[in-house]
Amino acid sequence: MGFGTSGSLLIIFTGLFIAMGTLYTTTANVGEEMNDADETQQERFVSAQQTDVNVTVAEWNATTSNLTVAVTNTGETALSVEHTDVVVDGNYVAVEDFERAEVDGRATDVWRPGERLVLEDADTVDSIVSTPNRVKVVTEAAVADIAEVTVR
């Protein structure tokens, strides 16, 4: 009986050890994944809180059918030009569709606080609307500013 008891206990303890190992690995991985997701979410919230933009110019040239939009980064965080979106009268216009996209005169993707992004479109907006009324500029954190278009 002595061997039987010891052998049984050994088998049960081995089973317990394997099971606990599996459980620990899973909970540790899941915990890490959830912590990571939570941290990313916090960073997104902070980034959104620190983001602010101001559309200073939204001008439509009736002669050339060009739309010029100037936006200043009035927040505290650097933004990406590539991840900025423009909505003209409810129609989406990607930054890539603008012939000119310059930050303080430079064709760069990094749009730092205080800098001015100038977007100039020659044909995309013209093909969607005859005379645009409103321009909405949306940043990567979805913080946006809207301006009425002035016709020149």
Binding site: A19, L23, T40
Partner: protein, 155 residues
């Protein structure tokens, strides 16, 4: 003497079999539990990483409804989370004025240079809603547990 040894052996084998069964059942139950925890954890993590914003302009002069004259509500939805999302109508729930829209009534198109709905990419949702009268209306988009409401007025 021999009968004692045989009975000991039988008892020994029986105890081994019982111990192995107990350990087996326990290990398999804990495995199932681990899989459930992993699935649930990934689901929660996906839900936390998912964030969308409706960036359509609902101001005066901007068009959101019947823009092309086909009775469609047009919503621009930006992926502001950190996870690639499925740009599929059957995985996005849409409600217009508290009425569920079936996937066949919704068309989702990824805009810009992206092919998939990556973080920061925008999709256009065309929701078939013919006959929407003038007045205030409300659309709701639900994806991975993230809900966004868009209110607009038809003049």
């Amino acid at each position: 003497m021999a009968s004692v040894s045989i009975s000991h052996m039988i008892l020994f084998i029986a105890s081994m079999v019982i111990a192995a069964s107990v350990a087996g059942v326990f290990t398999s139950s804990v495995n199932d539990l681990s899989n459930a925890i992993a699935d649930q954890g990934l689901e929660v993590s996906d839900s936390v990483r998912t964030d969308v914003e409706i960036i359509s302009d609902n101001g005066t002069g901007a068009c959101v409804y019947n823009c092309s004259g086909n009775g469609n509500l047009t919503l621009l939805v930006k992926n502001t989370g950190t996870k690639q999302l499925p740009a599929r109508a059957d995985l996005i729930d849409v409600l217009v004025n508290n009425q569920y829209k079936s996937p066949s009534e919704v068309t989702v198109t990824v805009l810009g240079e992206e092919d998939t709905w990556q973080p920061n990419a925008v999709v256009r949702m065309e929701i078939s809603e013919p006959g929407l009268g003038s007045g205030d209306h409300r659309a709701k988009v639900i994806l991975n547990g993230d809900e966004e409401v868009f209110e607009f007025r038809i003049p």
